[in-house]
């Protein structure tokens, strides 16, 4: 595994080119800080004795300026090569840091995270304290059979320490149930209980959640809690780990030592690690990522993650440079809708901007004197128009609502429906991003909140836009036929009171999509 220090490498904005003879996990350091690890055999492409490994997308955004790139063999710590590189036109040093200046690295999920390698010993103690307290509450207060899992178990069994390149602590619980419905209910109850105990908990899916623990240095550590269960003769651990593992490998629980503390662990941890990471689990590999069978991922998606569909996509979009390309001036549809509202005597009312995006139209409606509620499932984009909204005479309230999540729709819908008065529902470009289940929930929501009147304004690309060149390039889009919309609306008891289709209605840069404008009433 040892390599010389004069390996022929080439580094540019597209990626890193290394000899095909190089193998194993390689750390990439920028000015001495590890930012990423890769495995040329697994992550590289190309033949002729060379492999090209592309920079991860999240890292590429940071590559502007000068830096010293070092490649280091993760196991032997041999420096394989060092190059001083200038990316783009920047002249400053490249910095891969968070808002507070803490160094970040790409984790196994492809995200930039702070990791344990920069964690001082005191913080490590804090993380271990938190881990123990979380496990104790999960066991005693939530009644869950909790054990150490994934990276923490791996680190404990390998050398008794947390793995430096990890950024989360991982525990799992063995569900008492064997049906997804019961498993989801069990997880919901556990989340409630943990919240009631004062933990900051974020639901990650129907069967796993994250507990955020603040650290003394201002950082926070995420403790991931994964549901695991047997269904039939298969064993599953959320994310998407699926296979054959006998219950006797897990129960009765034993212990392992992690950072000097005895922590509950599966009965046969080595067997669980082989199940999780494969037979090579003993060889350290920060470039490791799961290569789950798509069938297994699809099954877990359908069971537990349907409400999260497209969430990460939009979250990443609003974190990417593309977000700055979303216009902040009002859309032509907003102006058109405002005229129609004014003609109906609703020039200043309550507008629910569903799928508000960056809030450009919400800010406009507020500027015209409306009270506006901007509903979004990722509210990251709304930061862009914060100043605009604050200047507007009308108020904009921002609320989280996820149209792929029935609970979210029912609860949010009920709260608005209960309030007196009439409100308008405005959804520009929303149908372009929803699938059939999301549309179904939109009709449910709109018909609930407009049971006393008001109109639902829809603008969306029709299937005739499918082959057009797009302002934002490749994107997840749905092209729904206006007839389909009309049929679905009718099934929910709505009436289409206005419908037009055409081009030149919603230009976006050089894109001139064929769109439909549909207005719906849910009352006679």
């Amino acid at each position: 595994m040892a390599h010389g220090t004069d390996v022929d490498i080439r580094v540019d904005i597209d990626g890193i080119v290394v000899p095909a003879s190089l193998s194993g996990a390689i750390d990439v350091l920028l000015d001495g800080h590890r930012v990423w690890s890769f495995n040329p055999d697994r992550d590289g492409t190309g033949t002729n004795g060379r492999r090209t490994v592309a920079w991860p997308k999240v890292l590429r955004h940071h590559l502007n300026g000068v830096t010293e790139v070092s490649l280091v063999d993760h196991v032997s710590r041999d420096v394989l090569g060092t190059r001083t590189v200038r990316f783009g036109r920047g002249t400053e040093r490249v910095r891969v840091v968070d808002a507070e200046g803490h160094p970040l690295a790409v984790d196994k999920g492809g995200r930039l995270q702070r990791d344990f390698s920069n964690t001082e010993d005191s913080a490590r103690d804090e993380i271990m304290d938190a881990l123990e307290r979380v496990m104790q509450d999960l066991t005693e207060k939530c009644g869950l059979q909790t054990y150490l899992m994934y990276g923490c178990l791996l680190g404990a069994v390998r050398n008794g320490h947390m793995i430096g390149h990890d950024s989360d602590a991982d525990v799992a619980y063995l569900s008492a149930y064997t049906h997804p419905f019961d498993i989801i209910r069990e997880c919901t109850t556990a989340i409630r209980t943990m919240k009631s105990l004062g933990w900051k908990v974020v639901k990650m899916s129907g069967a796993n959640f994250k507990v955020w623990v603040p650290l003394p240095d201002g950082r926070r550590c995420g403790i991931d809690v994964f549901g695991s269960f047997h269904i039939g003769d298969r064993f599953y651990v959320t994310g998407s780990l699926t296979g054959t593992l006998d219950r006797s490998a897990l129960l009765p629980f034993g212990t392992v030592t992690l950072e000097g503390r005895e922590i509950t662990a599966p009965a046969r941890p080595e067997e669980v690690l082989a199940f999780t990471y494969g037979p090579q689990w003993r060889v350290p590999d920060p470039a490791f990522h799961f290569d789950h069978d798509p069938v297994d991922v699809a099954r877990m998606d359908a069971w537990f993650r349907a409400p999260r569909r497209r969430l990460r996509f939009w979250h990443d979009f609003y974190k990417s440079p593309d977000a700055a390309r979303v216009p902040t001036e009002p859309s032509a549809f907003a102006l058109w809708a405002q005229e129609r509202m004014a003609a109906a005597g609703e020039a200043e009312g309550h507008v629910l901007d569903v799928g508000a995006g960056n809030g450009r139209d919400a800010a406009y409606f507020a500027g015209r004197g409306h009270r506006v509620t901007a509903l979004e499932f990722t509210t990251l984009g709304l930061k862009q128009t914060k100043a605009l909204r604050e200047k507007a005479p009308g108020q904009v309230h921002v609320r989280s609502m996820n149209l792929e999540d029935l609970r979210s729709v029912l609860v949010t819908g009920a709260r608005f429906a209960h309030r007196a008065g009439v409100r308008q529902v405005y959804a520009r470009g929303l149908l372009d991003t929803l699938g059939p289940s999301g549309r179904d929930n939109l009709w449910r929501f709109a018909s609930m909140v407009q049971r006393r009147g008001g109109e639902t304004y829809l603008e969306f690309r029709t299937p005739r836009s499918r082959r057009d060149r797009k302002y934002f390039g490749v994107h997840q889009r749905t092209y729904v036929d206006p007839d389909t919309v009309a049929r679905e609306v009718a099934a929910y008891g709505g009436t289409v009171v206005h419908r037009e289709t055409g081009r030149d209605l919603a230009r976006l840069g050089s894109e001139n999509p064929h769109i439909a404008r549909i207005v719906v009433r849910w009352t006679p």
């Binding site: 999920g109 995270q113 989340i191 537990f304 349907a306 999540d405 029935l406 609970r407 029912l410």
Partner: protein, 92 residues
């Protein structure tokens, strides 16, 4: 769901177009049936989450609603939202 059942019936010959089951088990017909079944299975799996959500909402609201206790209904709604409606994309 009705469309799906219709598709499944069509592809399995239940609509009378292929009463003798011709093509049964052969290439394109089988591929279409598998695709339709996969869609049906996925739809079925998603029902777990939807049903669990509905049961949860009903459970939390039923008692205060029957008690006509508006304050408790409002609190239950707020709590339902707060407890589980905080999607996070920080990790998967």
């Amino acid at each position: 769901m009705n469309n799906l059942i219709a598709r499944l019936r069509r592809s399995s010959g239940d609509d009378g177009s292929d009463a003798h089951g011709r093509g049964h088990g052969h290439g394109p017909d089988l591929a279409a049936r598998v695709a339709a079944l996969e869609t049906a299975v996925e739809e079925n799996r998603r029902l777990n989450q939807r049903l669990a959500d509905v049961v949860d909402v009903v459970t939390e609201l039923l008692v205060p609603a029957l008690d006509r206790d508006d304050a408790k209904v409002a609190a239950a709604l707020a709590n339902l939202n707060k407890t589980l409606n905080e999607p996070d994309t920080s990790a998967d």
